[in-house]
Each structure stands twice: as structure tokens, then as C-alpha cells.
Symmetry: C2
Subunit: 129 residues, 2 copies
């Protein structure tokens, strides 16, 4: 069996606090594989993967509600998913957002590069002159 870890180790590996993990649990984003006797949480390796995915989606600007909506797709087996049309709808909204963001981000990157070049030119001029 793949070994179970406690919240402390999970927290450390995932780079988030244990309180954050508790919080995510309340939102339904991660669940311990088991909680025996006194209530200690024991996690398997999918928990770590979920936390990493959550972090990645957060970096893309999704909030925790949106993440809750798309996260199952990465972990549920497709055959068991209910309401597939609804899921597709959500995905398409996210896709449209992603495409817009891609364009804006590309433009922003160009801006930044232009500004950097301009600044460096000015600095060089100042140093020469």
C-alpha cells in the first residue's frame, strides 16, 4: 500500500500551512484518505497532487470556487461524472477566459520588453553622457 502521511508532512511538501489544508477541506477541495480513532487526518498521494493543482490554478487567477468546479476533472474517472453538459459549460467559460488572458498577457509581455529596452537605453545614454 502506498503510505499515508499526516497533515504536517503534507503541509510541508505542498508548501501550504495546515490551517490552509483545513480550510480547503471545509470547501471540499481536499479530503484525507482516512481519519481513524481520534480524528487525525491521514492523506495519500492524491492529496498532494490536488494541492499542487490548486496552487497552479490559483496562479492562473481562478478563485477557490472556480477551482472547486474544475478540480474534479483532474481526478475523477470520466465515466463516473454526473452532469457532463454542465461540466462542459464550465470548461468552455474557463477556456474563453484563458484565451482572453493569453492575448492580454502576450501584449503585456511585449509592453514590458519594450519598456525594459527603452529604460536600458536611457540608462546607457546617461552613463555615456
Amino acid at each position: 500500500m502506498s503510505s499515508l502521511i499526516q497533515i504536517g508532512e503534507l503541509s510541508e511538501r505542498a508548501g501550504v500551512s495546515h490551517r490552509t489544508i483545513h480550510y480547503y477541506e471545509r470547501l471540499g477541495l481536499v479530503q484525507p484518505a482516512e481519519r481513524e480513532g481520534a480524528g487525525y487526518r491521514y492523506y495519500d498521494d492524491t492529496a498532494l497532487k490536488r494541492l499542487e493543482k490548486i496552487a497552479a490554478l490559483k496562479r492562473l487567477g481562478l478563485n477557490l470556487d472556480e477551482i472547486a468546479a474544475v478540480l474534479p476533472l483532474y481526478f475523477a474517472d470520466a465515466t463516473g461524472i454526473k452532469g457532463k453538459e454542465k461540466v462542459v459549460e464550465i470548461l468552455k467559460v474557463q477556456l474563453a477566459k484563458a484565451e482572453t488572458q493569453l492575448h492580454e498577457l502576450t501584449a503585456f509581455k511585449r509592453d514590458l520588453e519594450g519598456n525594459i529596452a527603452r529604460m536600458e537605453e536611457l540608462i546607457a545614454q546617461a552613463q555615456r553622457g
Copy 2:
């Protein structure tokens, strides 16, 4: 002279509340062109452009502090900018972030497309069978 507008019109054109404009003013993100007598704010068209730029940068995931740091670049004339090395530093940090985000976003988009295709295939199967 290009006509000045009041906060109500600016608010409407920019698609943000006047309270938000007040808030941004406190953070130094926008300033009225003038405030005569009793304190009414009158804005020129650069204010609208600033608000639009702020919105665009927000969509890219910058927070208001980061926006405050890069916003001057879009409006100040380059010859007047102090501390150019510092500015370049900030820009390079933003550029690195933008590049990372571009990669992640591209991957996310691929994921979404894959998931959508998979879902639609499942739906089609269900309808056939």
C-alpha cells in the same frame, strides 16, 4: 481644451464605481486634473486611460501595489523618470512572472480542450447508446 468630466461620468465610462475611484486615488493610482473651490473632482481623459489600464493589469493578476509600480511607465514621459534601474528591476520581475504564467496558461488551455473533447465524446456516446 479637452473637456473635463466629473467622477460620475468617469465612473460610468470606466465601468467602476465612484467609490472605487476614490479608493484608487487614496492609493495614488488616479488623480483628478483639478479640484476647484468646494472639492469636486474633475478629470481629463488620461484618467479614463489609467482606469482602463488598471483593469487590464488586474485581469493579468497584478495586485494594486504591483500596478502602482508599473503604471507610471504607461503615462510618464520616459525622460522624466527617476530611478530607472529600479524600474527595470520591477519590469523584469513582472516579465518573468508573465512568462511563467504564459506557459501555465497554455498548458491549462490544452487541458481544458482535452477535457471538453473527452466530455463531449462521452455525451455523444450516451446519446447513441
